[in-house]
Amino acid sequence: MRLQRKLKTEAGIPTSSLPDIIFMLLIFFMVVTVLREFQGLKLILPEAKKIAKLEGNKHVSHIWATAEGTISIDDQIVDMSKVRTIMYEKVSADPQLTTSLKADRQTEMSLITDIHAELREGSALKLNYSAKPRE
């Protein structure tokens, strides 16, 4: 009698720990995810080469400025004269605050200068001109 040897060539990847691995990934992404806080205004950022990353989103406040001169802070359209009070309050709440200015590339400099003046009045001195990296 010929004994037939059972062929045991099932080379499978053990999948029993697959849910655990995926759970780990899931938890990672859940922790990392920050749902977008503010919508902002529609604008095209200027491009620049030598740009630095802002560290985290914790100590950053955004100001949007469109080419038409609309200014928005935290999704609220504000008057230029209100910027100083808003920023002053923000800076007193968080002295490490950096203002990220997201201005359209077609914005006129008079608007930017006005924002500079307002920020200086509000003691929000750390400024960052938001820009897209240039290839």
Binding site: L101, H116, Y129, S130
Partner: protein
Amino acid sequence: MLVKKKKRAGGEIPTASLPDIVFMLLLFFLVTTTIDMDKGLGLVLPEKGDSEVKVNPKNITNILVNASGKIALSHEGEIRLIDVRELKQIARQLLSTNDKMIFSVKTDSRTMYKVYVDVLDQLKQADATRISIVDPES
């Protein structure tokens, strides 16, 4: 004969589809995650109040930008028109001869923000640290 009924500790949640569910959740978070860090050109504004400091004219280079984006460089009374792409090289040269050089950027009130950012970018690329911004006259 007493047939002992096997005690079934029933009430189990079916776990066969658990990986699928978790995959779905994972995909959701993968799609919604935006790891877009804010990037830009950093600058520290001077404090409020008049901040006029007397500077030796040797140590200052004025960069003038007009409304149409033309750039002029003025250093020690010598004015020349330049292209924005040349600025990096020129700034490097000036810095290598004088590392205390201050670059003062003055724009017209109708200059495009884009040109201004280009100028700042060029200066930053030349590793200029002392950059001053002059308010345009309105």
